[in-house]
Symmetry: C2
Subunit: 286 residues, 2 copies
Amino acid sequence: MNTIFNHIAIVGLGLIGGSLARVVKEKKLAHKVSAYGRTIERLKKARSLGLVDDCYDRFEDRLHEADAVVIATPVGIIEEQALALTPYLRKNALVTDVGSVKGPIVSAIEPRMPQETFFIGGHPIAGTENSGFESSIAELFEGRICVLTPTRQSDAGALERVRKLWAAAGSSVVMMDAEVHDKIVAAISHLPHMVAFTIVNAIAGMKDFEQNILEYSAGGFRDFTRIAASDPVMWRDIALMNRDNLLQTLDFFTRALEDLKNAVSTGNGCRLEELFRQSRDTRRGI
Amino acid sequence: MNTIFNHIAIVGLGLIGGSLARVVKEKKLAHKVSAYGRTIERLKKARSLGLVDDCYDRFEDRLHEADAVVIATPVGIIEEQALALTPYLRKNALVTDVGSVKGPIVSAIEPRMPQETFFIGGHPIAGTENSGFESSIAELFEGRICVLTPTRQSDAGALERVRKLWAAAGSSVVMMDAEVHDKIVAAISHLPHMVAFTIVNAIAGMKDFEQNILEYSAGGFRDFTRIAASDPVMWRDIALMNRDNLLQTLDFFTRALEDLKNAVSTGNGCRLEELFRQSRDTRRGI
């Protein structure tokens, strides 16, 4: 018996929410899966595809039936959605989220949860440059890491149920402080996205070519810039919400780039080879 | 009848040279394919694998039999190899190369070619982060662009034969000035590699984490940094040989990054969204 929840409600049925719905149904992790969102027509389409059992556009409809609520909206509105739905939670209901920034979300939501309801911050590190439940797959979380960011106030039973959910979805679940999480993702996810966005813009902005030079891009460049096609609104919100950590990693990157530029401009082949060898060895180690 | 050459000699049997040998043999583009290199044991292994018909470690051996010579060594020694082999060329022999920088190579080699021999600079835009003929495949050039950089002195017949070779290997052949080529690759290839090397080094250098944060990297980061595992010596030479163009694109990139950092630090969501949207639209257009 795999069932962890009776009725799981997913708020925001995009790539992550849709993929979670699929794996919950496929592995029977809940008796019922429902979806909440603003556009009922879209949700009905997901229902007709079998992703969810039912769908609603107002929390007052049936949210009180859910023993678990996963907020999988764009990260910029997770806090707002959490506060909007708390009045309709049943006793002992568990709320979690999938936002890629954790500090501001956890500290905004946790203290405002009603008595005898629980909030656990979560971040499944999965996803592609695609969005929408049309791109969702039940295997999205397989072999991935899911970070949970409990606080000293977190309920142990609630934490364990969220852990079970992501473990059952195929992820390795790691617990850490929200602040540590935000520093780590600033480095390994937010910085690379900023750099990818910037390099595509920089190259597109080079006006001294008569032709579209992007035509000459080989496989390396395509892979390199794939993440530059990610959702602009989501990334705007991530950049704003994780601003301080992001600025710190951007500064760190800028200094490393100055080091490289200096080696190029002085023709320091030894230093260049050393830098490239370091990078290759690190990359091969991943 | 596909045959373009009688005997094609490939100097440097790595990923590019090996893949070219494979496609030449597979499509019978020459009656004989031979390989030249410093380590005869490696070449013999390639011969035993059927990549080439014969192999030599000295140009004086049989280079005078070749009507076409392709220099596929690391870019940093192409000039040196070209000058070392010219004394052994037969009349009407054609020499071309596959270096990813063209200006310095063409201007060094072309004026020093013996009478009645021909040099055409070339750059098949193909390759992966792997190297060595063990990674070679006959399909490497399929659907790719190959740039040729003839000059006003180039022999039209020689140029046509090189064009035919790469077209038969499956590439779209484009002709342009060596200087234009070098500016384009600085932007779409050399800059992204420098950035990938730097981001991996920057993240590896962040010492304020107790754990190896690269473990948390998702697919996006892996794809993004794949090119950071490229050959350090090759990239050292590319950076040095295309220094001025590379510095210019690095400056361009740095300015675009400052623009982004400014939007992050001032919390300018509109500007961030605009930048990310621009980048997504450009990337989708590739």
